[in-house]
């Protein structure tokens, strides 16, 4: 008969379940995956303790955290102070003049009044002005 043939076909290859059915099962009370509970493996706590102590040892002590910005600014101020002191230091200034060796700049930077003159070969000469 027709219906036995259909039944046999259905039993041989039942159609896929509808998604609504699956969703209903997912949200059934007492079968909710959201609150599903499974006992954890026994060795997990030991592994967590070990990992936790390793992680804590690698962290910077929290007490020092507030000090960080202060230390950063202190280092910046110290650097600026040293740099300024070095630049205005007299010996550094002289060393700078010597290193430049340019007669014009040297004359301009030294305290004694001097004038610049060109000789016959067009070289610049520094001549001290008598006081």
């Amino acid at each position: 008969m027709e219906w036995t043939k259909k039944l046999a076909e259905y039993e041989a290859a039942p159609p896929l379940p509808s998604w609504n059915e699956i969703e209903k099962t997912l949200h059934q009370d007492g079968n909710s995956l959201y609150n599903h509970v499974v006992p954890p493996p026994t060795e997990s706590w030991e592994a967590i303790s070990t990992k936790l102590s390793t992680a804590e040892n690698n962290l910077t002590p929290r007490a020092l955290n507030w000090l960080r910005p202060f230390l950063r600014y202190a280092a910046m101020i110290a650097f600026l102070a040293i740099a300024t002191a070095t630049l205005v230091n007299h010996s550094f200034r002289n060393a700078l003049i010597e290193s430049i060796q340019g007669p014009g700049i040297k004359a301009a930077l030294t305290d004694t009044p001097k004038i610049l003159i060109k000789d016959s070969s067009n070289k610049i000469q520094v001549k001290q002005i008598p006081r």
Partner: protein, 184 residues
Amino acid sequence: MSSNHLPNDHDLIEGCILGNPVMQKNLYDKYAPKMYGICLRYAANSEDAKDILQDGFVKVFINLSKFKAMGSFEGWMRRIFVNTAIELYRKKNQLYAISENQEENIPNQDISALDELEAEDIIRLISELPNGYRTVFNLFAVEGYSHKEIATMMKISEGTSKSQYARAKAWLQEKIGNRNQDKV
């Protein structure tokens, strides 16, 4: 110690922030079964689930001082475990975007076939899902995140999230169908 004598969440959190190992163990005992349930849903195998459980709890203990008691503590922990699972997924896999219109091609015949399907069976089926499908399926169908939120969390497009979910649905339907066929 019976569960009735366990300290409440507030005391557990304070104890853990102070680094009290007894409180840490108590917090673990209280929440590990539920969190392991989450880990199993997101992991492809029990080894990955164990890794997510361990890394998740280490993150929880380290970041406990950042927990603001505005919302549920369990919800906060759950988010940490879900994010840890996503991180593990990112390390191991890449998502492959598929065409969005495949969502429309999913067969949707009517048959009631899930009467005997238990949570364990569903978890087993979910764990067999390909990685990308599984993560998106869990986030959307179980945790209740929107595709937009999933896209942000997983750094994928919203379309990819939708298509991964559609694929997961089709895959699960087929598997459940096969399972029922085996029983006939």
